[in-house]
Amino acid sequence: MSSPPAVALPLSGAAASGSEASARTSRRQAFDLKGTMASLTVLRLRSTDLALVERQLRVKIAQLPHLFLDAPVLVDLGALGDDAAALAFGELVRALRSCKLVPIAVANVPDGLRGPVTDAGLGVWQPPALGRARGAGDAEPADAASTGPLSAQTGATETPATETPATETPGPEVLRAGASAPAGPSAGAPSVRAPHAGPMVINKPVRGGQIVYAKNNDLVVLAPVNSGAQVIADGHVHIYAPLRGRAVAGAQGLAGARIFCQKLEAELVAISGAYIMAEEIPAQFHGRAVQIFLEGGECRIAAL
């Protein structure tokens, strides 16, 4: 049966296809060590004000709970620069866990924080893997230390680490690492356009609490997406049935992505980070066949 895939986070993919597993499978072996990493959310700290971090995280999580709840997270301290040393690391970990995130490792750890990081049971992320994840080779660019090697494609708008966060300034930035990064030697252009992959097709209802994510792909759903369910694609989302839950197209930033649905009853629709909540959907579109697309950075709805 084609139940939706295991929850995969779209804000994903420090796809470090590191050294091939050194352990070759032999009959006796009790495990394989794979040098690959499936998908991971990177939390890139831009403030050491943990109350602020936590507050903004909670807002983010409230918007897209199913993307973040119980998600493994790599914490990147690179953007903090010298401030990183002043970070109350134990507090940070507590804050993340209280938000139901699962911190697993830390990147760009200053020497003074190695102790607290390992004491908290987290891994120290090794720079070479990051370099590869970015597709920049092992050599880091000269300025990498200030911005960290885990720049997302949105990196151009990043604010300096030292800036005091105003209400407008995003505190923690949840990055989509690897979005633009080749995942390995075979990866070339963004595979949203890969001609042979074909869209992901779901032909059973997507139920409340379920998440379907078409990574680097379009998503076609031939059954209802029910309240509390989420369908997400890096490309377009097509739903040939009622959309009662949430739909996200262009999850990794593809601005041209669209959502098409036969009957709009959505809780939320989002494209490339811009979204419309249920109560903001104009009444004339309720229950209608529509498409949703980005225009001037905002979501627009049009009847089909």
């Binding site: 049966m1 409340g208 029910n226």
Partner: protein
């Protein structure tokens, strides 16, 4: 061949235990060896509704912990042949049920020749409910005609498709049936309840039956005698229909509209 059937809902108080008691009784009356297992650890409800609470000596958890044999814990119904109850315990330990233990007991019940193993799930979508559904071959999703109950049922349908032994081992999908309980045609007409059609559209699974809202349910559970045993009531008729439909007979749907023989009855019959 044994069938493991979970009676589940997500939302609490919608009629799972009532349904478990009535369906188990009805199936057993048809000559099938049937056991109803109470998975609601800590509450113990099924034995009350089935009127055997005084005869509980050992329970499900005792058997899982090897403190008693399965035969010692099984209670044989005094009214209906072929009907057995495996009661829940009153232990506070919610983790008392584990997949290995539950799996072992279900296997043992199959070996004993039980044809229908009815699992009365606790409310919620957490571990207890997941234990009750884990080994199911079929699920009867009990839903009340209101939005929160339908949403919970939808979540449960998602879990049935993902968090069960069949899902994990890649077996055939669990067969799911919708049982709409506490249905009041009058309230539907007034717009105070969702209609059968609304619920079917939202959940998209086949309708097993509609059980009307009725005082007879409370009276019969106070007596400890499942409603299905008194054939004069609406509820008994409705549960009898459900049992026959479940066992493969054609029965027109009833109790959907105020007057009997309704259009819906023909639509979904």
């Amino acid at each position: 061949m044994s069938k493991v059937v979970v009676i589940t809902s997500g939302k609490g108080g919608v009629g799972k235990t009532t349904t478990s008691a009535n369906i188990a009784t009805g199936i057993a009356q048809q000559g099938k060896k049937t056991v109803a297992i109470d998975f609601d650890v800590g509450l113990r409800n099924l034995d009350l509704v089935m009127g055997c609470e005084r005869r509980v000596v050992y329970d499900f958890v005792n058997v899982i912990r090897n403190e008693a044999k399965l035969q010692q814990a099984l209670i044989r119904d005094k009214r209906v042949e072929n009907l057995y109850i495996l009661p829940a315990s009153q232990t506070r330990d919610k983790d008392a049920l584990d997949p290995e233990g539950v799996g072992r007991i279900i296997e043992e019940l199959k070996q004993m020749g039980f044809e229908y193993i009815i699992c009365d799930s606790p409310a919620g979508i957490e571990k207890g409910a997941q234990m009750a559904m884990y080994f199911a071959d079929e699920a009867i999703v009990v839903t009340n005609p209101e939005v929160s109950s339908v949403r919970d049922s939808d979540r449960v349908l998602g879990l049935l498709a993902a968090k069960t032994s069949r899902a994990e081992l890649g077996g055939p999908a669990i067969r799911t049936h919708l049982l709409l309980t506490r249905y009041s045609p009058l309230m539907v007409k007034r717009g105070e309840m969702l209609s059968v059609g609304d619920v079917l559209e939202l959940l998209g699974i086949p309708l097993l039956g509609v059980i009307p809202e009725s005082k007879a349910v409370l009276q019969s559970s106070n007596k400890g005698s499942p409603a299905i045993l008194d054939e004069t009531t609406d509820v008994a008729q409705a549960y009898l229909d459900v049992v026959f439909r479940y066992l493969g007979q054609e029965r027109q749907h009833r109790f959907i509209e105020e007057e009997k023989r309704s259009i819906f009855g023909r639509l979904f019959g």
